[in-house]
C-alpha cells in the first residue's frame, strides 16, 4: 500500500478514484505513565510516555485506514491528512483520512 499526502503518486499519473477512507484511534496510558509524566514535567522536557502513545496511535490509525482501503481493492491512498485532538486527560485521539485509489 502506497500512502502519500500529495494529490498523486509521483511518477504514476492516472488512477481510478475509490472514495474516502479513514481510521481513528483513541489511546491512553496507564496511571503509572501519567505519574511519571507528572514527575518529568517538574523540570520540563519530553514526556516519553505520551510520545510513545502518539506514535502507537498514529501507526494504528494509519493501519485501520489501510485496512479499509484494502477492502475497497485500492493499491494507494493519496492526499492523506492526520488530525489529533485531546479528548480527556491522558488520552488522545488520532484520525487519518485520505482518498483510496487504484493505480493504472
Amino acid at each position: 500500500m502506497i500512502i502519500t499526502n500529495i494529490e498523486n503518486v509521483p511518477g504514476r499519473e492516472s488512477y481510478e478514484n475509490l472514495g474516502m477512507v479513514m481510521g481513528s484511534t483513541v489511546l491512553s496510558k496507564h496511571v503509572g505513565r501519567d505519574i511519571a509524566a507528572g514527575l518529568k514535567s517538574i523540570f520540563g522536557g519530553e514526556l516519553k510516555g505520551y510520545s510513545e502513545l502518539l506514535v502507537e496511535g498514529r501507526a494504528s490509525a494509519i493501519e485501520r485506514m489501510t485496512d479499509e482501503a484494502k477492502a475497497l481493492g485500492a493499491d494507494a491512498i493519496v492526499n492523506v491528512r492526520l488530525t489529533t485532538s485531546s479528548i480527556t486527560q491522558g488520552a488522545s485521539e488520532l484520525l487519518a483520512y485520505g482518498t483510496a485509489v487504484k493505480l493504472k
Binding site: T4, P10, A37, G44, G45, E46, L47, Y50, L54, T84
Partner: protein, 230 residues
C-alpha cells in the same frame, strides 16, 4: 506549584499531600487547634505520620525545622522559613530546567546539521510538478513519513508565565517551547525518512495540540509529508 510537585512524589501521596490538601480544604486553616478536627484517624496518629515525613528532611541543610510547625502551628518565623525554602528550591529547579533546555537546544542544532541532506518543503506551489515529474523517484516503504513529539515546559516557569500573562505581549517561555518541539518533530520526520533514499519531503503539514493535564502544560506536535528522491 509546590503542592503540585509534592503530590507527584509517590512517597507523599499517602500521607503528606492528602493531609495538606485536607488542611487547605478545611475552613479553619489558621486555627491550629481546629486543623485536626476533620480527622478520620486520630490527631496523634496524623501528627506522628507528618512528624515522620518531616523527619526525613531534618538532615537536608535548609529544609529541616518543620517539626516545629507540627508542635506550635504556623508562626511568622515558620512562614518566612517556608517562603525562603520555596525560593531556594525554585531557584535550584529553575536552574536545572534551564540547563536541560540548553542541552536540548544543543542537541537540536547538532542533529539538524547532520540531517541537512534531507530538505523539507511545505510549499504546494510546485507540488503538481513534483507529483508528475518522473524524475522525482518515489521511494520508501509507504511514501508518507511522520515525526512527533510531546514536550512539556517546566513547573518552575509556571510562575514567570503567570507574571508574563499579567502584562500581556509575547510569552517567550511558550514561544521557546513550541520552537523546540517543532524542531524536534521535524528532526524525527527526517529520521523516519533517513535510509529510505529520500532527499526531499514535500507538502509538509504540521499539527499542534495542547495536552489536557494538570500541572505544566505540554504540547504535542505531529509533522508529516511525502518523501521523494529527486
Amino acid at each position: 506549584m509546590l503542592l503540585d510537585i509534592l503530590s507527584n512524589i509517590p512517597l507523599f501521596v499517602d500521607g503528606f499531600a492528602n493531609a495538606l490538601s485536607d488542611i487547605w480544604a478545611s475552613s479553619n486553616i489558621w486555627a491550629s487547634s481546629d486543623i485536626w478536627s476533620w480527622n478520620v484517624i486520630s490527631r496523634d496518629e496524623k501528627v506522628e505520620k507528618l512528624r515522620e515525613i518531616a523527619g526525613l528532611f531534618e538532615n537536608i541543610p535548609f529544609m529541616g525545622g518543620y517539626q516545629d510547625l507540627l508542635d506550635n502551628g504556623w508562626s511568622l518565623s515558620v512562614a518566612l522559613k517556608f517562603i525562603r525554602d520555596a525560593v531556594i528550591l525554585g531557584a535550584i529547579g529553575w536552574f536545572i530546567a534551564w540547563w536541560l533546555e540548553r542541552k536540548h537546544l544543543k542537541y537540536l542544532t547538532a542533529r539538524e546539521a547532520e540531517l541537512k541532506h534531507i530538505t523539507v518543503e511545505a510549499g504546494p506551489k510546485e507540488l503538481s510538478e513534483v507529483a508528475q515529474s518522473s524524475a522525482n523517484m518515489f521511494t520508501g516503504m509507504s511514501g508518507m513519513f511522520t515525526g512527533s513529539v510531546v514536550l512539556s515546559h517546566d513547573g518552575f516557569r509556571s510562575i514567570t508565565i503567570a507574571i508574563a500573562k499579567i502584562f500581556g505581549g509575547n510569552i517567550k517561555q511558550y514561544e521557546r517551547l513550541l520552537d523546540r518541539a517543532r524542531r524536534q518533530a521535524i528532526i524525527r520526520l527526517k529520521e523516519d525518512a533517513e535510509g529510505q533514499g529520500v532527499t526531499r519531503i514535500v507538502n509538509m503539514k504540521m499539527l499542534t495540540t495542547s495536552i489536557t493535564r494538570k500541572g505544566p502544560k505540554a504540547v504535542e506536535i505531529v509533522v508529516y509529508g511525502t518523501g521523494v528522491a529527486s
